[in-house]
């Protein structure tokens, strides 16, 4: 590894830490600038101003701002996120019960829609003007433009009610089965939500990859590869697709943090216990510890994915391996 290469990564990591610190500070002040606090939205005539004062004190909102900031930074740096104002439970515990569902739901849907979209995009570009391309363009545009709640409700109505082959809520049956059947039960419950997200997500991938591939397939080196008599699959996947990979990998890695932020609508329609609804409720309820921790974790993951994208760029495209080029 060269000195320049090392310097580049040192700068990138230092920059990332600076971004994280900015997020940390903004997180604190943005929530406090927002009108209201966790207590002000309690408007119950049986909850007197005196009782509100006690609650404010319980939440530590009566402390000076600098003291609140110190406690906030301490809690995030030590990853001890404190207790949620709304549930009184440790924030980490709240997140821990939600993250597996959200990561499985969105991670699986993301991988499947990216894989399906990419494959269809490559095939559509390869058979330009053909039926497949038309189907991909139309289906992609439709899937891309339909509101998620509509698609999900239709799926729910068709496969949960009219032809009831899938459950209409949650990630397990009530009462839940035991042993290996529990895994099967979980997969059965997640099929409909994941399918809906794949249906909604593959279109943008397909159109994006198709457009990239069309440009790549018109390059001279593709013509040369074909003229050399290389098998069409080798030309398509080994040359054209590989050359199109950097922006695809970037898009993939930059979209990756989204799988932690959850999908509020999907979680609501299918009554799933996930991070998205938790984050929304935390923001609406001015639950500073919960929202602060969730945004902090998202910021860390986003920064890591950004760094990974930079690194992966070099892996998939030898031309942009910074150190080697400089040598």
């Amino acid at each position: 590894m060269t000195r320049i290469f090392r310097n580049y990564w040192t700068r990138r990591i230092a920059g990332s830490i600076a971004v994280l610190l900015m997020v940390l500070v903004l997180n604190f002040f943005l929530f406090r600038i927002m009108p209201g606090d966790p207590v002000s939205t309690i408007i119950d005539p049986h909850f007197s101003p005196q009782a509100k004062m006690h609650l404010r004190s319980q939440f530590g909102l009566d402390l000076p701002l600098y003291r609140q900031f110190y406690l906030y930074v301490k809690s995030l740096v030590t990853f001890n996120f404190g207790h949620s104002f709304l549930s009184q439970k440790p924030v980490w515990e709240e997140l821990k019960t939600r993250i597996p569902n959200t990561v499985f739901l969105l991670g699986t849907a993301f991988l499947l829609s990216a894989a399906l979209g990419t494959w269809l995009g490559v095939k559509a570009a390869h058979k330009r003007g053909g039926v497949l391309e038309k189907v991909v363009l139309v289906a992609g545009s439709i899937s891309f433009s339909f509101p998620s709640f509509f698609v999900q409700l239709v799926l729910l109505l068709v496969f949960g009610w009219a032809i009831p082959i899938f459950p209409i809520r949650g990630s397990l049956s009530v009462p839940p089965p035991e042993g290996i059947m529990a895994l099967w039960d979980f997969l059965w419950h997640m099929t409909l939500p994941i399918s809906s997200l794949v249906l909604l997500g593959f279109g943008s991938w397909a159109i994006y990859v198709r457009n990239l591939m069309i440009k790549t397939l018109s390059e001279d080196y593709i013509l040369l590869a074909r003229a050399k008599g290389l098998p069409e699959n080798k030309v398509l996947w080994g040359h054209a697709f590989r050359a199109s990979l950097p922006p695809i990998v970037t898009m993939f890695l930059l979209a990756l943090p989204g799988i932690l932020s959850g999908a509020v609508i999907t979680e609501t329609v299918f009554s799933l216990h996930g991070v998205g609804k938790f984050l929304l409720d935390s923001i609406l309820g001015h639950d500073y510890p919960a929202a602060g921790a969730a945004f902090y974790l998202l910021a860390i993951i986003t920064i890591i994915c950004n760094l990974a994208a930079d690194f992966a760029y070099g892996l998939v495209d030898p031309r942009i391996r910074l150190g080697r080029k400089m040598e």
Partner: protein
């Protein structure tokens, strides 16, 4: 009511196709109401003698979390749910009412929606203007158009379901001509452009604003506010709608920075909240006298209401306060909601009335499958309980679960809303002294044979420990209920004497309505905020947690996001 925003958004956000569904709804409503006396679970007089109820009969109760209203309806129709509460969309009501296998029940709700004036400022401190504007709002038409008939137009300061409701108040029926004549008589004039000119002034009124939540957050409230604005504009008031994020709106109201506002309150059966809404001492920043009413005569009546010695005087003062308020018109009351719930008809023993929907504790005690073979009951929870710590729990969803485990000294009659002996078989209220030197003595005689779910006997010590613990730790949720407690004595294991400073009839409900916790467990709770009784093993029962009460159901399992499972308590005192 604690988490007003979410609930309000939910309440207001789902009203569509109002005009088309209105007539269908009326038919539905009539069918539902007319079906009440002939329901199979009813006795000869349409009521079940609640004293004769022995239960619970069901063994397993699953409170299943369905967040989406559409999936709730589908689940009810397909039999995956047995009980669904708080149905608000006309399309759902119509759909469910058309089914033979589902019983819809309706009751009047403890809810009121109103428009308030900022009485601290001109022109809102002008009584004639307030009265005229009250006559300008076509509340019946607005409610009919927007809510398809399932809300009740009201012109009173308590909803009709309240035992203290006073119908004989000054009503301001829709009458634009009368509104104009009131203004003319008071010296108001109109400019050439039709804008109101105050008495003794030359220039017309400046533009004013009606605050309401955004249409994205609460579309029906926004539409309703727009209709109010239209009716005011037609009278010559230069008013515009100002839609704000709810937090921002609350901040403006807290700081008294507004002209007009719309708001809803969820109330309880006791009318002492009139004190919080209208007494001049509550006109503080963040206080509930948002409109800033200062009226000595009303203050006096509200003080008498707050410190009433008995039910008779409390009723008289509550009614007098409502009559006086209607004269002063600090609000324009608009509507009150109906509560609607649905139960599958393969269950019998359901208890409901015009004041209580079927989704109540009495039904849970009395319900059993019609087919004879016992099976689990599936009850819908629209959200996860936020916490199962009864000391910190505040949302309605938390108490949907906790209310089946913990009980209080006094319960509420589902038919009359009167007090019913519960953990206390009888009680007496004694007052001493007058004014600020007075005190109230509540004497509760406890029911014998009641046991905690871990087998320990329920005694006066449990009541004493509960009240003193809540008082000592100043727990916000219970602060106002125990704030006035001076002492708690237990002359015997079946008798509790609670002494409170000053005299107030509402003390009975404040103390009698407290959930009672087991003293043998509560004593060991060092930090009430982080107490997680559902996770702690109970030393007295191998399969029990510390989330135990005297109630009819024992907590067994909570799967976050999925369900709460409770089983019947076989040692329950009402079995």
């Amino acid at each position: 009511m604690l988490y007003f925003v979410n609930k309000h958004v939910r309440e207001m956000g789902k009203m569509t196709k109002a005009l088309r569904t209105y007539f269908l709804f009326i038919v539905t409503f009539i069918v539902c109401v007319s079906s009440l006396p002939s329901a199979p679970s009813m006795g000869m007089d349409g009521k079940i003698d609640i004293n004769s109820i022995r239960g619970p009969k069901i063994k397993d109760l699953y409170m299943v979390i369905y967040r989406d209203p559409d999936s709730q309806i589908l689940a009810l129709e397909t039999g995956k749910l047995d009980v669904l509460s708080d149905i608000i969309r006309p399309v759902d009501i119509k759909r469910l009412a058309a089914r033979d296998d589902i019983l819809l029940t309706l009751s009047e709700g403890f809810h009121i929606f109103f428009m308030g004036f900022n009485l601290r400022e001109f022109p809102w401190n002008d009584l004639a203007l307030r009265k005229a504007l009250s006559h300008a709002v076509p509340r019946k038409k607005i409610v009919r158009d927007l809510f398809a008939g399932y809300c009740m137009p009201v012109s009173t300061y308590l909803p009709p379901v309240s035992p203290y409701y006073e119908p004989n108040v000054t009503h301001y029926d829709y009458d634009p001509d009368k509104a104009r004549s009131i203004l003319s008589e008071a010296g108001w004039r109109w400019s050439k452009e039709g804008v109101l000119i105050p008495p003794g002034k030359e220039k017309p009124l400046k533009k004013v604003y009606l605050l309401c939540p955004t249409a994205q957050a609460a579309p029906t409230t926004a539409e309703l506010a727009a209709r109010i604005v239209d009716s005011f504009v037609s009278l010559g008031l230069p008013v515009e709608l100002q839609m704000l994020d709810f937090s921002m709106m609350i901040k403006r109201l807290d700081k008294h920075d507004f002209d007009l506002f719309v708001m809803a309150w969820s109330l309880s059966r006791d009318p002492d909240n009139l004190f919080a809404f209208f007494h001049s001492s509550m006109d503080t920043e963040g206080g509930y006298n948002i409109q800033g009413l200062h009226d000595q005569a009303i203050d006096e009546v509200l003080e008498k209401l707050r410190w009433a010695k008995d039910k008779e005087s409390a009723t008289a003062y509550a009614k007098e306060a409502q009559r006086m308020l209607s004269e002063k018109a600090p609000w324009i009351p608009i509507y009150s909601r109906y509560m609607i719930s649905a139960i599958r008809k393969d269950w019998k023993g359901v208890i409901y009335s015009k004041k209580t929907t079927a989704d109540n504790m009495w039904s849970l005690l009395n319900m059993e499958p019609k087919a004879g073979k016992m099976r689990p009951l599936y009850w819908c929870l629209p959200e996860d309980p936020r916490t199962l710590n009864p000391l910190a729990a505040s949302s309605a969803y938390d108490w949907s679960v906790l209310g089946l485990i913990y009980e209080s000294l006094i319960a509420t009659d589902p038919y009359t809303m009167d007090d019913v002996p519960w953990l206390a078989k009888q009680w007496s209220v004694e007052t001493k002294g007058t004014g600020e030197n007075s005190s109230t003595i509540l004497r509760f005689h406890l029911r014998k044979g009641v046991t905690w779910q871990d087998g320990k006997p329920f005694t006066a010590e449990d009541v004493k420990e509960t009240i003193l613990y809540l008082k000592k730790h100043e727990i916000p949720r219970y602060f106002d209920q125990v704030n006035h407690v001076i002492s708690v004595e237990t002359p015997s294991s079946q008798e509790v004497i609670v002494t409170l400073d000053r005299t107030s009839y509402w003390y009975l409900h404040n103390i009698g309505g407290l959930p009672i916790f087991p003293a043998h467990l509560l004593r060991n709770v060092k930090d009430w905020k982080s107490w997680r009784p559902e996770r702690l093993n109970n030393p007295n029962g191998p399969k029990l947690t510390q989330l135990i009460g005297t109630g009819p159901f024992i907590f067994t399992e909570y799967k976050p996001g999925e369900f709460v499972h409770l089983i019947r308590y076989d040692g329950y005192w009402k079995r």
